[in-house]
Symmetry: C2
Subunit: 320 residues, 2 copies
C-alpha cells in the first residue's frame, strides 16, 4: 500500500524498441496505476517525464542513461526512472532512486521474475529515504540542496525532529520529540539546521456517474487511502452539482464548472478520457476540475482514481 | 590481454565520497593502467572524462548518472563509465557499455568480488560489439549514427564484410570475403551500405634512461603488444638522440625535441611526471613528444607505457 503512495501521478511504461513491447505490456498489467505509453518517441518520453511519478524504460541501462540525460530537469522534479532490459533480467533505478526508484525497481523485478539492483546508501544502511516524506506529505522541499547535509547527519546515526507532522511508518530516525540536532519542518521559514517541506494547497476534483451514492463519505475515504491530508484540502470541484455534498460535509468551498470551461483547460498531463467521456466531447472531469480550481501554476498531484461510479483527482499549488 | 587494448588511454578511478576511498584504492591496485584520481571534484571528473578511456565512479548508480549527464559529450568521445557502489556489490556500466564498459564492469567486479550487471543487446546475443573495432584499429567511426543500423543488420543474423583490415578475434560476424550486404571499411569515402573507420595517423614518443638497450627492437615490440599498427606510424619523437635508432629501424622520420619545447606544450591529458622527471623540471617525455610531433589537434591514444628503462606513448591525428 505504501508503495502506491509514492506514485500518486502514476507510472508510465515505455518500450525502447519493438523488441520490448511484449515485456512492457506484462509490466504494465502487473502494476497498479501504470500506463503503457507505447514505443519510444520524443513526445512520449517528454510527456512521461513531465506528467508521471515513475517511468519504466524497457531498454539497456546505458540507453536509459542517454534518455535521462536528455529529458531530466532536476532532482525532485523528475520522475523516478527504472530501466529494465528487454529480457527482464534486471530492473535498475536510473535516477531518483530515493524518490521511489528503488521501490519501483523492486515492484517491476517481482512482476517479471528479475532482480532489482539497488545500490544507494540509504538502502545499504537500511533506512527509508527522506525524499519519501515529500511524497507522503504532499509537500515540496524548500531547498533540495540541503538533503545531502541532512543525510550525512542521519548516516552518522543522527536523529531528526519532526515539526508540524507525524512521521509516517518506516522513519525510525525521525522523532516527534527528543534531543535533535536537525529538524524537518512542514512549513516555511527554515533556519540553517532545519529542512523545510512546503505543503501544497490541495484541491479535489470529482467525477460522478448518475448512480453514484454516498459520495460525501466515499470521496474522503478514497483521499485518505492515498494519504491526502484532508485538513489541507482547500476546495472541491466538479461538473455535477451533486458533488457539493462532499464540500458541505468537509465544510469546504465548492466550484461548479461547465464542460466548456473544463475543455478550455490547456494542461499536458491530463489522463486520456474514457470512451464514454470522449463520446460526450468531454476531455476530463476530475483532474481538469481540480486543476482549474487550483488555478495558475497548479500541478496534478493525484492522477484520477476510479472507484466504480466515481473518479477523484487532486491538484495542488505551492510557491517555492 | 585484449581487454587492455580497449583502454590504451588508461582508466581513472574516482571515489564519490570519503566512504568510497578505500574501495577505490583496492580497485586501482587490481587494474592495469588505472589511475586513482582521488575524491570527487569538478576538476577531477572533467579530466577523467576528457583524458581516459574508462572511468570508474565509486558511488550509487543514480549518482553516477547525474555525473554522466553533466560531463559526457557524445558517444564515441566519452569514456566507458562504470559505477560501483561503495560496498562493492555491483559494477554497472553507466554509459558506453559497448565501448568497453561491459568489459570494465566485469574486470572491476572480479577484482572486488561483486557482480557485473550487463544487459546490452550485443551482450545478450553474445557478439563482440562493433565499437571495439574502432579501439582495436586505432580509428574513428566517420558516422557513429550509422551504428544502430548496422547493429540491427547483425542482430538479424547478417554478416559484415571487412575492407582494408583483418577482423580481430571475436568478430565472427565480420568476414574478409563473402556475400555481405554491409561493409565495414578502414578508410574514407563510404557509400550508404558501408561503415567507415577513419584511421588515425600515429606518432610515437619515446622516453629513455641512459642504460636502456636494444630500443630499436623493444619499442616496436611494445607497440605491437598494444595493437598499434606499425604500418600507420608516421614518425618517432624523443628528447634523446639515441631514440633515432627506432626511427631508422622502422624507416620513419625522427624528431628531436628540447626540454623547453616539450615544456611549452599545453595539453590537459599528460600523465603526471615521475618524481625523477619532476626533479629535472621536465613535465613529460614520451606523451609530450608524441603529441608535439603529431601537431595541432593531436589526441593522446596510448598513455605512456613504462617498460623498465624506457617509456612509449602514442598520439594521433585524424580529420573526421
Amino acid at each position: 500500500m505504501l508503495k502506491d503512495l509514492l506514485f500518486p501521478r502514476g507510472v508510465a511504461v515505455i518500450a525502447g524498441s519493438k523488441k520490448g513491447i511484449e515485456l512492457a505490456k506484462v509490466v504494465n498489467r502487473s502494476l497498479k496505476h501504470s500506463y503503457f505509453l507505447g514505443e519510444y518517441s520524443e513526445e512520449v518520453v517528454r510527456q512521461a517525464f513531465k506528467c508521471f511519478d515513475g517511468v519504466i524504460l524497457i531498454m539497456s541501462f546505458s540507453g536509459a542513461v542517454r534518455v535521462v540525460c536528455k529529458y531530466s530537469t532536476k532532482k525532485g522534479e523528475d520522475p523516478a526512472v527504472v530501466a529494465v532490459d528487454s529480457s527482464g533480467k534486471f530492473a535498475i533505478p536510473v535516477v531518483n532512486s530515493h524518490w521511489g526508484g528503488n521501490e519501483l525497481a523492486s515492484l517491476v523485478a517481482n512482476s517479471v521474475g528479475g532482480s532489482a539492483i539497488l545500490n544507494t546508501q540509504a538502502e545499504e544502511v537500511g533506512i527509508r529515504p527522506l525524499e519519501h516524506l515529500a511524497k507522503l506529505l504532499y509537500a515540496k522541499f524548500e531547498d533540495v540542496g540541503k538533503l545531502a547535509k541532512v543525510y550525512s547527519h542521519v548516516l552518522d546515526g543522527g536523529i531528526l525532529c519532526a515539526e508540524n507532522f507525524d512521521p509516517p511508518s518506516g522513519f525510525d530516525y525521525v522523532v516527534t520529540r527528543g534531543n535533535c540536532s536537525f529538524t524537518v519542518k512542514l512549513g516555511r521559514g527554515c533556519k540553517e539546521d532545519e529542512l523545510c517541506l512546503i505543503p501544497y494547497e490541495l484541491f479535489v476534483g470529482v467525477g460522478l456517474k448518475d448512480e453514484a451514492r454516498d459520495i460525501e463519505d466515499r470521496v474522503p475515504g478514497i483521499l485518505a487511502q492515498y494519504g491526502v491530508p484532508l485538513s489541507r484540502v482547500k476546495g472541491i470541484a466538479s461538473i455535477k452539482e451533486r458533488a457539493k455534498s462532499v464540500a458541505d460535509k468537509l465544510n469546504l468551498p465548492f466550484r461548479l464548472f461547465s464542460v466548456d470551461e473544463l475543455n478550455s483547460l490547456d494542461h499536458d498531463c491530463l489522463s486520456p478520457p474514457s470512451d464514454k467521456l470522449r463520446e460526450e466531447g468531454i476531455r476530463g472531469v476530475a483532474e481538469a476540475s481540480a486543476l482549474m480550481m487550483a488555478g495558475k501554476g497548479a500541478r496534478l498531484l493525484l492522477r484520477k482514481v476510479k472507484a466504480h461510479d466515481l473518479t477523484v483527482a487532486v491538484a495542488g499549488v505551492v510557491d517555492v
